[in-house]
């Protein structure tokens, strides 16, 4: 691929919204996360470690930024609240935000991969092909959400990970990644495939509720909803619709109302036009009331 080819055919490389030439039919996997329900308990993160064979890298490597948590809980503090009120137990206004790959429709990571190791699938996922990856880490550099994680080591064989006999705990439906490849949340694609297989045997499409992601399954407060956005009966579609969040918009119509729409749905970095597939429901903050 030469630079001249890139420039001449720019329109074919980069679409404003890829949905135009590859309509999602019959699946578009999407998620919505209710931040008001999220307690920051980290159960989703732990479930992800178990489901997707993520290495626990240990304190030292974690401090070097080598953590491999596909699903991480970001913490934000409402500083304004501070130690106001003179209470012995001041409210710092902790807020939690589960952050994982947003499975962007126009993913910034895809366009920069020199080896085409990350692609868009027909059902709207951003796929990562480990054995095609050459480890340039360009995708991670271009990811606005910083949700791609690089394997700096062959984790199962290095210290601090797991003893050899614990290989039995690995999920056989997910590869164990090796040193030098990039990885990220897959929306539990192995579960999606299993559900699609079952549905195909029964001659139907995947119904809402047939498939859960690992993080959704363990969430004690049910903050995470996952499903098929194309299916109008699905809970996730209904949530997106009720919050008036649309997939192929970089600024939602509801947000242009003066004084705000009063709806809680939003997507992170929408204005950068990656068209993320995850909608967050804003927390109802004490300071905002």
């Amino acid at each position: 691929m030469s630079v001249s080819n890139l420039l001449e055919n720019w329109a074919q490389f980069r679409h404003f919204h890829p949905i135009d030439d590859k309509p999602h039919d019959p699946y578009k996997w999407a998620m919505s996360i209710d931040l008001d329900a999220c307690t920051g308990c980290n159960a989703c993160s732990v479930a992800c470690y178990a489901e997707n064979n993520l290495p626990v890298v240990g304190k030292e490597k974690y401090q070097h930024g080598h953590g491999m948590h596909w699903m991480r809980i970001e913490r934000y503090w409402d500083e304004g609240l501070g130690v106001a009120g003179g209470s012995d137990f001041p409210d710092h206004g902790a807020q939690f935000l589960p952050m994982m790959c947003q499975q962007c429709e126009a993913a910034p990571c895809e366009t920069v991969c020199p080896a085409a190791a990350t692609n868009h699938t027909a059902d709207g996922l951003n796929s990562q092909i480990y054995n095609r990856c050459v480890g340039s880490r360009y995708c991670s550099a271009n990811c606005p959400f910083k949700v791609r994680y690089f394997n700096w080591y062959d984790y199962p064989t290095t210290d601090n990970v797991w003893p050899a006999e614990m290989n039995q705990q690995l999920n056989p439906d997910v590869t164990v990644r090796s040193k030098g490849v990039m990885e990220k949340c897959t929306f539990c694609v192995q579960r999606l495939h299993a559900a699609k297989g079952t549905a195909k045997n029964e001659g139907r499409l995947v119904h809402d509720g047939d498939v859960q992601t690992a993080c959704q399954q363990v969430c004690p407060t049910g903050a995470i909803t996952f499903g098929n956005l194309v299916d109008h009966e699905s809970k996730v579609h209904k949530q997106w619709q009720s919050q008036q969040v649309e997939l192929d918009k970089d600024a939602q119509v509801k947000d242009q109302k003066e004084g705000g729409s009063g709806l809680r749905g939003y997507r992170i970095f929408e204005e950068l036009r990656p068209y993320p597939s995850v909608m967050y429901l804003e927390r109802v903050r004490e300071s905002a009331i």
Partner: protein
């Protein structure tokens, strides 16, 4: 002179390091001299030909018994992996076949049975860990929908096992080899494709394009490859 010497030592060191790295990297044996997969030594030399081979009408003691593949590899029709039959399955028949009871291989089999230990069979068709292959899907299509004989359907990937004793891999089982069938049998057509929702799968780096008449779909011009990629790598890669 000194500088030249230093450079040559550096170059030599580099080349040794590089070749050492290349030699260390485990390369899978794709084919052996006779164009088959590696010879796998099994704990018991299981004669596939005796079990699945064709009957010999002249001498029934010499020919095979035409047992269906899925009598023993029973999981193939209902799960992603074909599975190895439990020892119980072997014993189930063999406890009542007196004629071969004293053959060394059968005695070996009963040793495992008496010790209550499974036979440590070795895997012959071992796909890399990053491949998602579903036996059930293929059996459903070929055997249940198209009514093809089981041995033919299994044989597309496993070769003519009924003629083998210990099974050996006889197909490449590489990505190109898989895509070869899939491109031929699920072509991208004007109407869309075979899987649900008019989604066809293509394996090159660009969607195949129709010719001027709008009929035949061909692989696109490879000199002008775009970075869009195949439409779903995750279909087979995990």
């Amino acid at each position: 002179m000194h500088r030249l010497l230093r450079l040559s030592i550096l170059l030599m060191g580099l080349s040794v390091a590089v070749s050492g790295y290349a030699a260390d990297a485990p390369q899978p044996t794709l084919t052996t001299e006779d164009d088959l997969g590696p010879q796998v030594v099994q704990p018991i030399e299981f004669p596939h030909d005796r079990h699945a081979g064709l009957r010999n009408p002249g001498d029934p003691l010499k020919g095979g018994m035409e047992i269906d593949c899925m009598y023993c590899h029973t999981y193939a029709r209902r799960s992603a992996v074909a599975g190895i039959p439990p020892l119980q399955k072997c014993i189930g028949c063999h406890q009542s076949i007196e004629t071969v009871r004293n053959k060394p291989r059968i005695q070996e089999l009963f040793k495992y049975w008496d010790a209550k230990k499974p036979v440590p069979w070795k895997k012959v068709h071992d796909l890399p860990d990053f491949v998602r292959f579903n036996h059930e899907r293929h059996i459903k299509r070929f055997v249940e929908q198209q009514n093809r004989p089981t041995q033919e359907a299994c044989g597309y990937c496993h070769g003519d096992v009924k003629q083998m004793t210990v099974a050996r891999r006889s197909k490449a089982l590489s990505m190109g080899w898989c895509a070869n069938c899939h491109q031929k049998d699920h072509p991208v057509t004007a109407a869309g494709g075979t899987p649900v929702g008019n989604q066809a799968y293509w394996y090159g780096f660009q969607k195949p394009v129709a010719d001027a008449a709008g009929g035949e779909y061909k692989a696109p011009d490879t000199n002008n490859i775009k970075a869009q990629g195949p439409n779903d790598c995750w279909q087979c890669h995990k």
